[in-house]
Symmetry: D2
Subunit: 375 residues, 4 copies
């Protein structure tokens, strides 16, 4: 295994997230390069490979794991495959970058940590908000005392529903908007508050708009309590029209700040004719729109991949790990349980009686006390 | 009692809210005029009277109630005095405009409704958000279907703490930021959703910044469920720096809107020298600030007073009544109880074991399950 | 003629501006009421009268001027009719409120001032920006020194072209976007700078988009110099997509402020379905839009009409007069001359060789030195 | 001279701009590295070298030019030194990156182009707006037709005055805010309009605030005409309070867009305590402020340096050259002449009777027709 030069990467996946990985790595040519991609559907991996000049293409990721020069594998596959893939990567001696959420169940996440640890590879958790430049600035300000003691951290991510069919299928995703997007907010608050332990979670969930598509929640309000006395408020939706929306607010006894990644970073634009691309999930580029620029960089994806590559080279220490992902998993479980029971769930929380996190809500709310599953 | 011409008004109070009443009425000269003011502290009522050319001044409001030409009395006194004053106004045959919240306890609110009904006078509840032009526009858009089915209404009011000592004293106010400001948000959501009954309330409360000043909560996150399946998210704070902040967000399956009364209506301004007035509770007018213009009009106060006067003349029907205020009171109780118990409280809710709404939180949270009273 | 009570008003016109007058007056019931409307096209005046419950309708405004109880007439007719109507109003002893610009030529404006003075009636110039609450706030801040010495005042009004055919016809309007909209900006700067005399004007004009509709300029950049050393920058367009846009910026040695009447006052909104009304000249209410609220009030129209009525009652002194309108006319002439000659034109400026202000540009620019008339 | 690997760079200068060069290059480790820095003041170059781990330090840049491995030299020195340094770099066979404006006089700029051409080295002009991501997005939208035919391009850069003494000294800078900042706006409009030739320039200049510090203009409004019929409006100021401000607006017959690099990209923040850094030339971080993030990247500096390095490697073709800088110089001359004469100056324009561009204004305006030099 080479110890110098660019870290050689294999990507598992060929769709939305895999594309982001490839594009982000291409933006960091000094530290990292993609040498292979694996995806089961014939043609998909090849298409990605062509788009990004990736030399090697596989339909079975296990074959890819046999390539000796690959040092790091990024997993851009549905939630229910994360564990199995991570375990196999670990056994093949590859460092792992796993997309969010870490896994479908807590037990899976625990096995991922255990296996990667056993085989001495890094398990890096791809929470990009920790690298988002605007949010990093907010954290830097907080850390030098701009806001005094921070007592409330808010993060919100909303759009009108995911791009791939598996997100809507609870058997493959494990949960809805809270699982898909809330994992960002929970990780953000936890990171922003310097990993003060989460002590309780409360969620209000509902399926308000997409009942025809999913049994999952398409909207969630989540309140977190932290051991240091601060709160988090995480809002997520698959039912917000108008394109992607990602925001934070930070409140302290000495100040406040507002960060808006999309409308707050964009060029307010009116166009009769439309144009190529405004923002992820934008409904149209005609009429008024809010185009963003250098979207991947503004999310922090190339910074994230650079960082992970430097971790592989031992130049940096992982800023977000499997352990962070597991904290998020526990909060996701507690959140679904709270929505089901209509009460705050205290952490630590484990429940091994359900196959999918969302069952904690769906099964309990049918009993009538929690958030209405359907409205 | 005159039946035509301008409605003659007496104001009880002489401070912040009384000043708003007098100023707002002066902006509606066609429909209403202030003819008297009553306040126990010698000099206070006289000062207000001088500022607004109010001819008659009383130190005992009971004396004012004897004036036969006064048709409508506005109560701008601390919460714990609302009931007593309303009852006496009703007995004197005066229509009542009562400041928010309606009362300190549900029982008091019930008696206010009962007494005014018995004496055939109107009990009008001074919730100005129902008249706030920007928010009225949002409601008009919702009502013609701009957002499709509305599933989430958010309202937030935040500043760094109230202007009068009695707000901080729970024996005179009954509660903290939730009682003081949350009553606006609850009323707003309820009105926006066409008075769909509130079915549950959940609150996360804490005293994060002002522990030295009050045992009341200085921050609250409140989630409401409504019978029509929609939710409300009400955020309130006495711990947000930078001047008054009042916002709404409306989410429906077909759209979304954002209304910001302060920064979103202001002239972003930089001044080395400062200037007269930026906005309620603004810390400074030097450096960057967000001055608002015609603040009372933008809140809807003159529109509110005009409306109430027209109600007295039977030209309009009260848009917000004591019954609305009582719904808010019930939600406030449920909110404090939920914060105390760490669970969603279903409505209808009554609890006659406490003297003050906040006791439902303070007494229970000391038992350890609910929101931390102190952080 | 009554000397107390509401001022009785007759409106000449029945279209866009006449509707604004009627609506604005209806919002000021204490001070003023519309009792008559006159418009030559059969049915038009009647329609307006029905909409606003105006009791008397005329097709010949001269007949309306015979009504003895009418004290004030508002002229909402095309530019080329202002002088004739004003003169007849004056002879009938009616106070005049004349829409902007004051007239089509300087000579006409001079006669309007002379005739109204001779007959002892007020000539009030309907420049509403002087009453626009957001802009009034900026002036108040400036006047207490917020910005120190103001050296630059900017005002910009832009949309995609006027609502009535006569604006596009230079024989009836006298000029294009600069004449139609620049009169606002010139008046605003002049008023903001406490009527410091205008010493020079420079304009860059062009017909960039609407060559098929008009020989008038559809875009203009105008630089004004004032005797006190300050500058004005006035931007106007009939070629800006996306709905009405009206903004100011004020720069001084000690500060700066930004006022935006439309996007800066609106509720950013996304709607799949659309809704009733967003803002004047908005292209659509579907997709993203910026609805404003209480548009007339935010422009200052009811405040303006209230003020003019109080002037008729001698309770106030006109804030904008025919003399102000004449200053604007002179600057408009100088602006067209400067665009024609490609140089700064110093004031005072008179040119009696042209029938229409725009000829100063059109005739000269065909000679080749000034702004390109067609691009 | 190496032909592969990272381009080795020497920096002339040690202050504000030199620091940006070093930092930007450090952000592009794949393509470029700084190996030397030269500055005459003892200690200054060493301090920069220490900050960025630059191995070689010189007090005489001529000594640095003898280093055989240096391939590219960036000139971050006052305007009056650009020509001499460029000529010596060219003679030493080094590619040149020259800071804006290209030179102090047109004649100097012409010699720079001639000498670099003769010696077969690249003369790259460091206009970073061509790399600014937000502005690049606007250009991409324009190029796919989002705005239809673009008829007006606006760019504005304003702050409260430069950081180094030489800017205020016209003998070393050649001009004031227009020379310092207007060169950006002219280059931006020219680039945005695909290098359509500039056909005329008109400027309104004044020294409104800093008469005690400089004879240069501290405020300028500049109108450009282009051969394709479009206009540019460039606004610059050393007299705008509140921190750096950089904006664009693009108007076409089919649309409009607004780009704001600072307030429009920032986190609106209130802080009692302050924090490290908000934005270039920000007056304070206490109270309300608008902190930006990753400022260099958002300006496009690392992208610019990467591009220039790739040009040295013949992988890309220079996006901004000495010829572009010379076009800007000509427009600067014409601008000063127009301010002096009070009329539009047509291009091509040459004037060899003045030592400094600003003399075209200062000498003529003392004659009384042009922009008042002092207000």
């Amino acid at each position: 295994m080479t110890k110098n030069g660019r870290v050689k990467v294999g990507i598992i996946g060929s769709q939305f997230e895999a594309d982001i990985h490839a594009a982000a790595i291409q933006m960091s040519p000094h530290d990292v390069e993609v040498v292979a991609v694996a995806s089961p559907t014939p043609g998909n991996a090849a298409a990605l490979a062509k788009r990004y000049q990736i030399p090697r293409v596989f339909t079975d990721y296990r074959e890819m794991l046999k390539e000796p020069d690959i040092e790091m594998v990024t997993i851009a596959a549905p939630n229910w495959l994360h564990e199995q893939m991570t375990v196999e990567c670990a056994r093949a001696g590859k460092h792992v970058v796993c997309e969010k959420p870490l896994a479908m169940t807590i037990a899976e996440g625990e096995r991922m940590i255990e296996e990667t640890r056993r085989h001495g590879v890094l398990l890096m958790y791809a929470e990009e908000l920790v690298f988002t430049p605007k949010y990093v600035k907010a954290k830097e300000m907080a850390d030098v005392g701009a806001f005094g003691k921070v007592y409330l951290v808010k993060q919100s991510e909303k759009h009108f529903g995911p791009h791939s069919a598996w997100f809507w299928d609870m058997n493959r995703s494990g949960g809805g908007a809270f699982m898909d997007l809330g994992c960002h907010g929970i990780a953000f608050c936890y990171w922003f508050l310097a990993r003060s332990p989460i002590t309780s979670v409360y969620c209000q969930m509902g399926t308000h708009v997409h009942q025809d598509k999913t049994e999952g929640e398409d909207n969630c309000l989540c309140i977190l309590e932290f051991a240091n006395g601060a709160m988090g408020l995480v809002e997520n939706s698959w039912a917000r029209r108008g394109g992607m929306d990602d925001r934070i607010e930070i409140y302290g006894d000495a100040g406040v700040t507002y960060g808006n990644l999309h409308m707050g970073n964009a060029l307010p634009t009116y166009s009769e004719n439309g144009y190529g691309y405004a923002v992820e999930k934008a409904p149209s580029t005609q009429g008024w729109s809010y185009p963003v620029f250098e979207e991947l960089w503004n999310y922090g994806f190339p910074q994230e991949m650079t960082h992970f590559a430097r971790c592989v080279r031992s130049q940096e220490t992982p800023a977000v790990t499997g352990e962070d992902g597991l904290v998020v998993m526990e909060a996701l479980y507690a959140g679904y349980a709270s929505a089901g029971e209509g009460r705050k769930i205290h952490l630590p929380y484990r429940n091994t009686n359900v196959k999918r996190p969302i069952d904690l809500w769906l099964q309990a709310s049918s009993a009538g006390n929690g958030s209405a599953a359907k409205s």
